[in-house]
Amino acid sequence: MPEVIQRKAETATRRPVASATPVTRSLLAGWREGLSIVNLRGNAEDTAFRQAVESVLDAPLPVKPCTTGEGSAVRVLWAGPDDWFIVGPKGQADALASRLRKALAGQHHAVTDVSSGYTVLHLSGTPARDVLAQGCPLDLHPRAFARGACAGSHFFKAGVWLWQTDDAPEYELLVRRSFTGYVWLMLERATAECGLVTRRFA
């Protein structure tokens, strides 16, 4: 058994650090702290289920694959025929989850708080598409993927859920916490030519 594994010093977890004033033509990337993220499972065919959920969320429950539902407070991402991510403002996961559970009592469903399990990254700026295209096989051309669309795919070797929030274009990425450092590293490498500007978002 070897005594010491790595000659190379281990690096600390990669985290974005807000950088200086934005440079146009660079990728603007940032992270959104502590959002509430709840995973919802249930039968989309069941109107009772849909109504219960929509009443709680005050947002349409997307049943069409790869679409999102915009509500006053939350955004709902289709993640599978019986699978959704609900993304809302900081600190509301518990309340949201318990209200959903109450509303869905008696129906077969699952509500799971995964707020700490994921990080939401924000990407925008002219090079956004080209940078994503370096690691993600989705066709993000406006004709194929526009505001309101979402998709599960991968960015290099990390699974991501990705949706478009503006035609500018502007995207958000749902990344598993333990992969965030890796995704960040790949963003840094992929933007070596166009430049990377980072900031923290509300």
Partner: protein
Amino acid sequence: MNARLAAGGRIDRDRVLNFTFNGRAYRGHPGDTLASALLASGVSVVARSWKYHRPRGILSAGVEEPNALVQLFDGARTVPNARMTEVSLVEGLVATSIHASPSVEFDLKAVNGWFSRLIPAGFYYKTFMASQAAWHFFEKHIRASSGLGASPTVGDPDRYEKRFAHCDVLVVGGGIAGLTAALAAGRSGARVMLCDEQAELGGWLLTSDEKIDGLPAARWVEQAREELASLPEVQVLPRTTAFGYHDHNLVTLLERRADHLPFAEAPVFRERLWRLRARQVVLATGAHERPLVFGNNDLPGIMLASAVSTYVRRYAVLPGQRAVVFTNNDTGYDAALALHGAGASVVVVDARSEPDGSLSQRARGKGIEILPGQVITEAHGRKRVSAAVVQQLDAQGRLGGSPRMLACDLVAVSGGFSPVIHLQCQAGSKPVWDDGHAAFLPGRPAQAESSAGSCCGLQSLFLCAHSGWAAGVAAAQAAGFQVKPTPLPRVADTEPGSLRPLWLVPHAKRVSRAPKQFVDLQNDVAASDIHLAVREGFESIEHVKRYTAMGFGTDQGKTGNINGMGIAAQALGKSIPQVGTTTFRPNYTPVTFGAVAGLELGDAFEPVRTTAMHDWHLRQGALFEDVGQWKRPWYYRQPGEDLHAAVKREVLAVRQSVGTLDASTLGKIDIQGPDAATLLNWIYSNAWSKLEVGKCRYGLMLDENGMVFDDGVTVRLGENHFLMHTTTGGAARVLAWLERWLQTEWPHLKVFLTTVTDHWATTALAGPKSREVLKKLCQDIDFDDAAFPFMSYREGTVAGVRARIMRISFSGERSYEVNVPAADGLRVWEAIQAAGAPYGITPYGTETMHVLRAEKGYIIVGQDTDGSVTPVDLGMGAMVAKTKDCLGKRSLSRSDTARADRKQFVGLLTDDPQVVLEEGAQVIDEPAPSIPARSAGHVTSSYASPTLGRSIALALVKGGAQRMGERVHLSMHGGRTVTATIASPVFFDPKSERQNA
């Protein structure tokens, strides 16, 4: 000698570029390739051949070049085997001939030429085989003289980008056919990409002296380029090679972005590799001219006719003063016209008895001398062609009349054209032979692809323009776009004329005795080698290829293969279509490894996954172990400690007081629904229905072959709610496994699975004092053993954070696993460290965890099991519920799996307590067995146990369960054997009083 013409060409004469070749300084201009610049400087020998070290010159003006390979640049940025004809000249460029010792002008290995008769194709299969030793001796020398360029010796300072891309229409090739296709498709509004491997668009148009829309061809190219640039959905990529056509219309492109620029101007990414998914693909890849095969046809100064035209018109270089054009078709005359126009003396030797076609007419008009029905049987010259031997060839292909010598310094050869059908064939289409063109043409498309231009065998600019246009329109429509009628470019039609197929020019002597008639210049394959292969029974063209190495080179036989097939067909008495082609494979031209690898190297080679506490571990001097993609603390090294000292300290801390382990990496699956318990009953070997809410249970997962593949503790959070723990490495596999059974086999089960691995940060507190520490941080849980017994679960608040606490143990000590949302993970971990300080709380890593569990005889799946171990083998037969079926259960009763003498999980105690067995040591029954000896098992885990003050080991031993107390021998690395006694795997606290109490 300066061969640069006073006027013309697409070079920028106002700017001079300095470069060196083989250490000598030369000058050229922007627009030059390394090849054109050297020709302009009168250099003719640029390389030595692979096997015979014969002097070689520049044959072509493009990617098909077999000879002119150089070592490009030097130092860390050196590139082996670069083709001069593709290298754009850049200031300060350094190039060196490869494979010539000491120099191309004087190569000692040229002696190989003299005994070339000793080393025909495949000679090495026939000799050097007296013995293995003899072969290894000869092999050294064969290897020493093998290879072409030299690998860099250090890492690559450059970086490479890769992209996924999508488009409606991809057009490959920017000649007339590709340009018209791109224009037609582009105007429809489709997403179009046009790529061409050359430095500028235009292909043959950059050489042609014809007119399009009344403009000189090259000017028209400008115009087309401007229009394409103006179309928003069209993207044009010069210097970009489509090198692979893969399934489902995936085309891979390599864009070369840097090497042609001065270093200071080069972009960050040297090359960009495109993985392009195209709805429709138009292949307008042109055609490569074939040389003619005659004696000494490899001499410098013998050049493809199209290349001669290109050097004269595109690069303003006159490659020779006294030229002979040797052709079997009309296009050769284009070279004659170009040379004549540039003031060289020209004679055309035309194998056809009645030359026809527009170009030959023009040549006649210009009074160029033509020798119809004649051929060059042999060339003369030492380092450059000095004369050609010309003779009559009658209709039956027999030589007649008396040979006559034509003095010359240039022979331009045209043997007809081989359409570039590589990509069509890679896409799956079977090439079809066409006698008229004497060429293989693209067959029925196998994917959403079409061909246009000279790669379909078309010759006239007129027809190529039309076919390109039609292909562009059709592709756009197939991709669902309307095409408004717009005028086509106007081009005068021309008469292509006939072609006289000529695979091997006859020689007075038999092929085996004639001067070498080369087919594959790069691999020194001559007609005689092909005849030899056929003579020896290599009848398939694939055999001929592998016996002679024809087409194996970096040019993949672009100029040689068809001639070779023709010659093989003649030798076999078959037709060329009967013989067929070899398989076309990527890459069309070679592709940089680094570009294929892209950015995913070093830290980015694979995701590095870290827990919420990772940086804390770093600060505490932890060394890390890779477990799957995770980094887990291996042990925390304190000044002066080695692994063993640190582990000893950590273990004793846990046994005597309290320690903490970051267990966040364990897989966690949230399982909800009325049928959750039923699912667990299927997935785990033991029974779950009766587990009380708030209780934990350990489970074993079997594959259908009955072998243990994962294990872990699952908690019942509620009647219909479980939380499953998997091994760190197994998390993804287990989730996929569960989902598969749920979705495909038991869709009727009402269960939802959600992965929560990353949501929870887990601190395991282990040791007699763990409860005291936890009590200080958590007031809302009753930690009394009666209220919170072993294998149970409570929720409460730890350091102000809602936590899930499981009282389970992998160490044999009283132990609590505290789970909090990862966002609070570090805070809670630090609070626990603070609270534990009075007890000397000690963070411990995976190594200590392994020792603790081994002292207690707990298994680690993947270390103590290897995919061939059942629960019974592990002594956990009781965990296979009799009352129900489960995955893999049936396999346990198969005749062999039920055997009593399988390898079983036991403990081993060495006679000498100080000796620590080697993990992987083999169990043998007698101390010094005769080799080969059968293995009776092996050591899976082995440690010096700080707790017991002696060594302990876990092992799988044949029939071990029945052999308690027996002594066995262990053969260790270095042949040493050690004696040990088989014991229970539980070395410490067998009654488990510590963890339960």
